[in-house]
């Protein structure tokens, strides 16, 4: 979808041999207006992989209940465990992939994608809930492993000024795949009644194509967009007070990033900028309702017909898909941290809509889903882009993993707290508490993030306070 304007600007993101093969590239002109092919390739890999994985997710309950006669409720119990494992594995994936000055990103990502691909034929062979659970656990491990290195590669390939849009394009392609997956699965089941084996086999083939695209078209070592400074490898430079520098300045140091590849999480958090960003992600995550809670609240407060329930996530995903790219571009213009905060204000508005007493059904549902989708579009890829600004590139994978794991953990805590408040005082109070908490967290985050220079400063800092 973004192929149209890729001829207009510079990128050294692809392997050197690539450069002449891409027509119309003029290095050095109008930085930030085009997307490097690596981002598009990684987006394609995610799109393909999500088609594959969502095909399986969509038919799994039916397969278990109608074909195997099992009840999938056991998975609900294990889901929390899987998610916890996935978050921890993500830290490991980020850490491993940073070895060798970032040349491990591709290797770890390939392992992660391949692991998930291998799970699809395994699903064909196992016929009991325990083994299916084990296969899904391996699948989650693959997902946990690949996420941080993949985002690191996107951030390294994109020019600093276009990172928001790069992540936006990636997330949009990812979501498009997620929306296509169930459709493909149901088309297959239509062609072959009870053809679950066909669904799993096709899912496997699609996943392998994803891995092959990754292997063939993503350069082993993504160079930064800042004209090949990194090509010399991870030059070790003494640690400086980079934390207080504006993000753009950190970017300019390119390969001379101060933290070495063996920097542990603690040293990463020793950098003021990373600490503030992680702090804000955690703080805001603590007041971010899980999707299921949001849909449940929506459904109960408006007394929606049960048949609507499966459609609610589709609404959010559609808005996310539509807005991810434009909002990513907006983030590049007005600053990622600012848009990240604005996204949470959209979420705050969604909470507000939920609190409006006896409001009209369909309009409120559409409003909440639009705001929820906008929230994702303004925060998901944007946070990754903002993190990339703050983390030196030879620990990029670890840095992304730390911030994202912190956010995930905080959201998990939020789920527990929200459920507890709902139980004790009812859903009105719970949503109100989340809204008040989010407003406070946003206010604190606005202060914390303002101290850091917001690249490129098109707006004056005073405007940010509004």
């Amino acid at each position: 979808m973004y192929l149209a304007d890729r001829g207009s600007a510079a990128s050294t993101s692809a392997a050197p041999g690539d450069r002449r093969a891409v027509p119309g590239r003029r290095p050095g002109r109008r930085a930030g207006s085009a997307l490097p092919s690596t981002v598009l390739v990684l987006g394609t890999v995610s799109l393909i992989t999500d088609i594959s994985s969502e095909m399986v997710t969509a038919v799994l309950p039916l397969y278990l209940v109608a074909e195997l006669g099992l009840s999938p409720l056991g998975f609900g119990v294990l889901d929390g465990v899987y998610n916890g494992v996935s978050a921890l594995v993500r830290l490991v994936g980020g850490r491993l992939s940073d070895r060798g000055g970032g040349s491990g990103h591709k290797a770890v990502a390939v392992v992660g994608y391949a692991l998930s691909a291998l799970c699809k034929p395994l699903l064909l062979m196992v016929h009991s809930l325990p083994l299916i659970g084990a296969v899904l656990a391996v699948d989650r491990t693959g997902k946990g492993l690949r996420t941080a290195p993949r985002d690191a590669m996107i951030s390294l390939a994109a020019e600093p000024g276009a990172r928001g849009r790069a992540f936006g394009v990636h997330r949009a392609m990812d979501t498009a795949g997620a929306l296509c997956g169930p459709l493909v699965a149901f088309v297959l089941l239509r062609a072959a009644a009870d053809g679950y084996d066909a669904v799993f086999t096709v899912s496997f083939c699609v996943a392998v194509v994803g891995v092959v695209v990754l292997l063939l078209f993503v350069p082993r070592r993504a160079t930064t967009a800042t004209e090949g400074i990194v090509a010399a490898g991870p030059a070790v430079v003494a640690e400086d007070a980079a934390g207080v520098k504006p993000a753009a300045a950190v970017e300019d140091t390119g390969g001379r990033a101060p933290a070495g590849p063996r920097t542990p999480v603690r040293a990463l958090l020793g950098r003021a900028e990373v600490r503030r960003l992680t702090g804000c992600a955690v703080l805001l995550g603590l007041t971010t309702l899980s999707d299921s809670f949001l849909y449940l609240t929506l459904q109960r407060r408006l007394d929606l017909p049960g048949a609507w329930f499966p459609l609610l996530p589709l609404g959010t995903a559609a808005v996310f898909l539509l807005l991810a790219v434009p909002l990513g571009a907006v983030a590049d213009r007005i600053g990622r941290r600012r848009l990240f905060l604005a996204g949470h204000l959209a979420l705050l508005c969604a909470y507000g809509l939920l609190l409006v007493p006896s409001a009209g059904g369909a309009a409120v549902v559409c409003g909440v889903l639009a705001l929820h989708g906008s929230f994702y579009a303004a925060t998901d890829g944007v946070l990754a882009a903002a993190t990339a600004d703050a983390v030196p590139e030879d620990v990029r994978g670890s840095g992304l993993a730390v911030v994202q794991t912190g956010q995930t953990a905080a959201r998990f805590v939020c789920s527990i707290a929200f459920g507890t408040v709902w139980t004790a005082w009812g859903d009105d109070t719970a949503v109100l508490a989340a809204a008040v908490g989010l407003a406070l967290a946003a206010a604190v985050s606005a202060r914390l993030l303002r101290r850091v220079g917001t690249p490129p400063p098109l707006a004056s800092p005073s405007e940010q306070a509004s």
Partner: protein, 338 residues
């Protein structure tokens, strides 16, 4: 590798994998067609007239390949492996009592399947139907035939991952009053009201048209609850009980109990609970049972386990003696008209 070479490799991969994908789909489509033909050595299935209120026959969903796969079929009560009479009514889940039948079925839509709960009269004609929000899993009719319960799994689409929740509905077949979600009933655990959001209720089994038992889960624990439809209450009686099934004499509950085993994914064993003493008895079935058992009579349990055609029915004595025995192959969701 040059860009051309890489594109060629990709093209070759896509062609090979595309071939595999198309092959697998054609194979499955062919097998689906084959499933419409009876397999050699399988049970004889012939279309015919099926009634829900004939105590000389046992009913179940026929899983055997052939044109009547997934249809509710009747077999002689004394010889379950005998010839099957197919009703033409296809159901994923089924139960009946006193001539009232409940059939949970898939409705094939253009983009995706939806599900429907269908009420059947004694001649399996549709009385009413209700759209349901997810994959059907449990269905029960009260002994008098006037109250019906069903449970579906609800899973949000892409963003809910593997998290499932249940939704259980109760229907009065005399007034057609529908309680769409049992979670709106007042739940009491240890004398305290519980309003948690994470409540899931499933697996209803009826004592009469008003009183029933079910599983309620909240806070990571499962409870056996006694329900009262008129009072709209659920009262917890015991913990660690899933998918209860009340014996015909109303004194015992067969259920799946979560036990500590080496494999935490396969924790369910078939137990029987005495409702007076709350004494639990393990049955002779030591495999993982993920089903709501059915009482064939006051002494015998029937339940499903995965089999060559998706599911077989097994039986074991309820008093903890004996060993499990395969009752019938290629069958699911049995009902024993009395």
């Amino acid at each position: 590798m040059s860009r051309t070479a890489r594109l060629l490799v990709l093209l070759a991969t896509v062609l090979v994998l595309g071939g595999v994908a198309v092959g697998a789909t054609l194979h499955a489509a062919g097998r689906a067609a084959q499933k419409d033909r009876s397999q050699a050595g399988g049970p004889a299935v012939a279309p015919g007239s099926v009634r829900l209120d004939d105590p000389r026959h046992t009913l179940f969903r026929n899983m055997a390949w052939g044109p009547h796969r997934d249809e509710i079929t009747a077999v002689p009560a004394g010889r379950l492996s005998g010839p099957r009479t197919a009703s033409g009514v296809r159901c994923l889940r089924f139960h009946e009592a006193s001539g009232t039948g409940i059939c949970l079925r898939a409705v094939h839509g253009k983009l995706r399947d939806t599900y429907r709960a269908v009420l059947l009269d004694r001649r399996l004609r549709e009385l009413r139907h209700y759209d349901v929000a997810g994959t059907p899993t449990r269905a029960r009719v009260s002994p008098g035939g006037h109250t019906v319960a069903w449970t579906v799994f609800v899973s949000g689409d892409s963003y809910a991952g593997t998290a499932f929740s249940t939704r259980t509905s109760l229907l009065d077949t005399r007034t057609w009053r529908l309680d769409a979600n049992l979670e709106t009933y007042a739940l009491t655990v240890d004398g305290h009201p519980v309003h948690a959001v994470d409540i899931n209720i499933w697996g209803v089994t009826f004592a009469d048209d008003n009183r029933f038992y079910a599983t309620a889960a909240t806070g990571g624990k499962t409870y056996l609850v006694r329900g009262d439809r008129a009072a709209r209450t659920l009262t917890a009686l015991h913990t660690n009980v899933e998918c209860p099934s009340l014996s015909p004499d109303g004194t015992r509950i067969a259920y799946k109990k979560r036990v500590n085993v080496a494999d935490p994914d396969a924790p369910w064993r078939l137990y029987v609970l005495d409702l007076h003493t709350l004494h639990e008895t393990a049955t002779g079935e030591h495999r993982n049972v993920d089903d709501q058992a059915v009482w064939r009579d006051d002494r015998t349990l029937v339940y499903s386990l995965p089999g060559d055609f998706g599911s077989d029915l097994w039986t074991v004595p309820a008093d903890g003696t004996g060993t499990p025995r395969r009752l019938v192959t290629a069958a699911l969701a049995p009902a024993f008209p009395r």
